[in-house]
């Protein structure tokens, strides 16, 4: 099924300055819109933005936090790129992410007692990938076999997964030593190694590699082309003799696998444990980013850096200026709208030139 699917060309051949403008103009417009709201509330927008930039980009500790935040977002984006290019609406990212996080959090403290650190971490990440993929299996089979709309099924499985991870933490995996229900935590020294003496963990490297790999596979290999054919026109894929059912299952498994890896990396790199009712709900935020990047892996990296900075900086700047932390969501929304508007203007102009 395609919803709202314009066929999206991967590498639009615009020049670098034009591409930079395409991002810069919406950013400026969104920040200006946010400033108007702050002014209307009698707050000083300059203070707010100044602090966002200082906190998330200029201060070394904050910048490392921004980079750390990028890791799960990028891995989720990698998963969504695979699915969206194959015309599959995997909107169940949150459930896949959380269950995978819980699985790796449950496994890590046990394995670390038996195995050295490296194999433990690798096994936990594999477990995350597997759990994510398994959680997408029912929607995948329903879609491949019977054509059941995957937006419904993945959303349902997402709700189920979120609740199930809470149940698992509260009833089975609960660490008896803590008051708040959470899994046994992995000691800090045994988590993913830090990068070059920073506080950013090596999950960021994995994530960047994953996005680039996905991009290359989708644009440069026969397998990627098959998925794109499937995504653009399912009937054509059938006529071309592609094994549509198998491809659909594979695309689901890859997509949910990357999202599962995101959950595992976030646990193994940052938290070391999962608390009950923890749900960062990254899935929802990454979906529009992937769209605006036109399913292009390199562009996603840039968008993710910007969004991470905005979220990390916005959360603490809000406290400083005296607005609620969630004000940053207004900025995110404005940015999405303006990015989409500029994108629309570009396309409209492209059409006029083509005619």
């Amino acid at each position: 099924m395609t919803i709202g699917g314009k066929t999206i060309d991967a590498g639009s051949g615009s020049s670098a300055p034009a591409a930079a403008l395409r991002v810069l103009i919406p950013v400026i417009l969104a920040l200006a819109g946010g400033a108007v709201i702050l002014l209307a509330l009698g707050k000083n927008p300059i203070d707010y933005y100044d602090y966002v930039i200082e906190r998330s980009l200029l201060r070394w500790g904050g910048f490392q936090e921004t980079l750390t935040r990028m890791a799960p977002l990028l891995l989720i984006a990698a998963g969504l790129i695979v699915a969206f290019r194959a015309g599959i609406w995997n909107l169940g990212g949150d459930g896949q992410f959380l269950l995978a996080a819980v699985a790796s959090a449950a496994l890590a403290p046990v394995l670390i007692g038996i195995l050295p650190r490296a194999p433990t971490l690798v096994l936990c990440m594999l477990a995350g990938i597997a759990v994510g993929a398994i959680w997408s299996l029912i929607p995948a089979i329903l879609k491949a076999r019977y054509g059941v709309n995957e937006i419904i099924t993945t959303l349902m499985m997402s709700f189920l997964g979120t609740s199930l991870s809470n149940v698992l933490i509260k009833l089975i995996l609960r660490d008896p030593a803590t008051t708040v229900p959470q899994t046994r935590s992995l000691p800090v020294d045994d988590r993913l190694p830090r990068l070059f003496g920073t506080t950013t963990h090596s999950g960021l490297l994995i994530a960047i590699l994953a996005v680039i790999l996905v991009h290359l596979v989708m644009t440069r290999t026969a397998f990627g082309l098959k998925l794109q054919v499937l995504g653009t026109n399912r009937a054509a894929a059938v006529h071309a003799g592609l094994r549509v059912e198998r491809l659909t299952l594979l695309a689901f498994a890859l997509s949910a696998g990357f999202i599962g890896l995101a959950g595992a990396v976030e646990v193994l790199g940052v938290w070391g444990t999962v608390r009950a009712d923890w749900n960062p709900a990254y899935g929802l935020l990454v979906v529009p980013l992937v769209f605006l990047a036109r399913f292009n892996g390199y562009a996603v990296i840039g968008f993710t850096l910007f969004f991470s900075a905005l979220m990390v900086g916005g959360e603490s700047a809000a406290r400083r200026v005296g607005v609620p932390q969630h004000y940053v969501l207004v900025l995110v929304a404005l940015l999405l709208v303006f990015l989409a508007l500029v994108e629309y203007r570009d396309q409209a102009r492209g059409k006029r030139v083509a005619v």
């Binding site: 709202g4 329903l142 959303l155 349902m156 709700f159 199930l164 995110v332 929304a333």
Partner: protein, 311 residues
């Protein structure tokens, strides 16, 4: 388990099921109108939140629940106006804008609530109830189902009205055509953009109304992020219902009952994590989908902007 089947428990369960189900019903019915006309309204959650806040503030300052409901509907329509201007008239990506609306309204309502009430969460007086004559005297059922805010009965009536509109009016036919073959509707001389605009505004109104009911009647207060996934459930209900309002009602009743069950069990002191009960409706629907695996029959033009003369 016998302690569970007492009269007060059953009454509170039924009453709670209706209270939790009505916002889902209104939002789901709204989404159904959009989907029928070919607009995938992912911003439903944001429209509900907007309506919840607008409704709460209005009732808080005027003391009138009816004005609150109206303001809630207007708030939802204001959020829907964004979809109208950007997605229907300009053809921007409906999923990006929908998520932007949800995220933006989460931020905006938190912000406005903070500015107005700082960190306090004031409570409204209890909403007026209308006990239906005769029916409300039935034991258990009377107090559970037939003593509610008038809006509840109106939304049940709306199910019938919408079935009739879809089935036997020009408007219903136009909506259906806009989702199935917009070019044909255009050729028949009906403005596709206008039809879809109407549909989206109606969605906004109903979602906002549902949000206002949730805040003013259900909770009696406004808390940021209070819709907590209700909009997403509304979208799922509308998709599952395949264009039939009666199925939205059935689904809303199922989800409402399980939401009420979680609170009722807590009140009765039964120690099951609420998450287990919360999983039930989703598990049931998944099971039904697996057993009766079938096409969901969405309108073919769903999600595609209509551009005249474009293939």
């Amino acid at each position: 388990m016998n302690a569970l089947l007492t009269e007060p428990f059953l009454i509170s369960l039924l009453f709670g099921a209706v209270t939790a189900g009505v916002p889902l019903l209104l939002a789901g019915l709204g989404e159904q109108i959009s989907e029928k006309s070919g607009v995938l309204n992912i911003g439903l959650e944001g429209m509900m939140l907007c309506g919840a806040y607008a409704g709460f503030v209005t009732t808080w300052y005027t003391g009138s629940f009816w004005l609150g409901f109206l303001a809630g509907g207007a708030g939802g329509m204001a959020a829907a106006l964004i979809v109208l201007l950007l997605c229907i008239r300009r053809g921007l990506n409906q999923i990006v804008i929908g998520i932007a609306i949800t995220v933006g309204m989460q931020g905006l309502t938190s912000l406005l609530h903070f500015v107005e009430f700082s960190r306090t969460y004031p409570r409204l007086p209890a909403a007026p109830l209308l006990a239906l004559p005769y029916l409300s005297r039935i034991p258990i059922l009377g107090k559970g189902l037939f003593s509610h805010n008038p809006l509840v009965y109106l939304s049940i009536i709306l199910v019938g009205v919408m079935s009739w509109v879809f089935r036997s009016t020009n408007l219903g036919l136009n909506l259906e055509a806009a989702g199935n073959k917009p070019a044909a509707l255009d050729a028949a001389g009906v403005d596709v953009i206008r039809t879809r605009s109407f549909a989206v505004l109606a969605t906004g109104f109903l979602a906002g109304l549902g949000g206002a009911y949730m805040a003013n009647v259900g909770a009696g207060l406004f808390v940021p992020f209070m819709t907590n996934g209700a909009g997403v459930i509304g979208i799922v209900l509308a998709m599952l219902a395949r264009g039939r309002p009666l199925w939205v009602l059935t689904g809303a009743a199922l989800f409402g009952a399980s939401l009420a069950m979680t609170t009722a069990l807590q009140v009765a002191g039964i120690d099951i994590p609420t998450d287990v009960v919360q999983m039930l409706p989703f598990a049931i629907v998944m099971l039904v989908l697996v057993i009766f695996a079938r096409h969901s029959m969405l309108p073919p033009a769903l999600g595609f902007p209509y551009v005249r003369g474009e293939r």
